[in-house]
């Protein structure tokens, strides 16, 4: 069981990282968006693997179902190919160096601490399940941030409508 979990982790990690790499290197934005979709699906699978079922479902619905579709719509408004793109401008080696240094420094601190695993694995997924536990937890402890988030979404929605309308008509 542990072995299967580990294999699944590596498979989903590979999907996620390959998708992310595609987003960075593909020049066609449509292909990059599809690559992003695969990356997000991999992340959702990793959430399921960590028994965050509700969050995995939210990831599937909001990211794969919402944000990627929004990206595709925006891409359809503009030409798919990056006309002004230069393949190897000076920023490539510099950016590669900075990203590598950044990643290596994070990995150094990650390796610093050995996490002992298996503390309390499924303590909060028993009984009512992950969704119910999150609902109770959210409404008991984080009600004000929750309402603030809904207000934020309302403001974002109005803003997106205003930004998206044609200029001379309201």
């Amino acid at each position: 069981m542990q072995q299967i979990e580990l294999i699944l982790f590596y498979v989903f990690s590979a999907v996620t990282l390959t998708g992310a790499l595609g987003v960075v290197v593909l020049r066609n934005t449509m292909r990059a968006a599809i690559s992003l979709l695969f990356s997000l699906l991999g992340v959702a699978a990793l959430f399921f693997l960590r028994h965050a079922e509700f969050l995995g479902a939210v990831q599937l619905l909001v990211y794969a179902g919402g944000i990627v579709v929004l990206f595709l719509f925006a891409i359809m408004f503009v030409p798919a190919n990056d006309r002004t793109h230069r393949k190897w401008h000076l920023q490539w080696p510099v950016a590669l160096l900075i990203a590598l240094l950044f990643g290596i420094s994070i990995l150094y601190f990650v390796g610093y601490h050995q996490w002992v695993s298996g503390k309390a694995l499924d303590a909060f997924t028993e009984g009512g399940g992950n969704t119910e536990a999150i609902g109770v937890f959210l409404y008991r402890n984080y009600l004000v941030p929750f309402e603030a988030a809904s207000l934020f979404l309302l403001v974002a929605m109005i803003g997106a409508i205003l930004l998206g309308r044609w200029r001379d008509k309201l």
Partner: protein, 100 residues
């Protein structure tokens, strides 16, 4: 056995890829996509630690991160489409009218 270290390494690589993308790409839409990658890397860490410490706070925080990411994508793409209508380009280097 999957330890938090597995997830931390994965998330570090994903975040670095996002940073690299933001630095090398010139297309504004791709820039926004790389931003989403970085937010996902953060969410992976939240969920891994939430599982490790058996504390739901991490998952709740990840939900808020997803909320903000959704709003950011909607507003950002609206702005980008408007930029394209005005400038007929999505090249981040050519948008410099605020440079004075």
């Amino acid at each position: 056995m999957i330890t938090p270290t597995h997830y931390l390494v994965l998330s570090a690589i994903l975040f670095s890829l996002g940073v690299l993308g933001v630095m090398v790409r010139r297309n504004l839409i791709t820039l926004l996509m790389c931003l989403e990658l970085m937010l996902n890397a953060v969410n992976i860490n939240f969920v891994a630690f939430s599982h490790h410490f058996a504390d739901l706070t991490g998952q709740v925080f990840a939900i808020f991160v997803i909320t903000v990411a959704a709003g950011e994508a909607a507003i950002g793409l609206g702005i980008i489409v408007n930029i394209y209508r005005h400038k007929q380009t999505l090249d981040a280097d050519s948008i410099r009218s605020m440079q004075g």
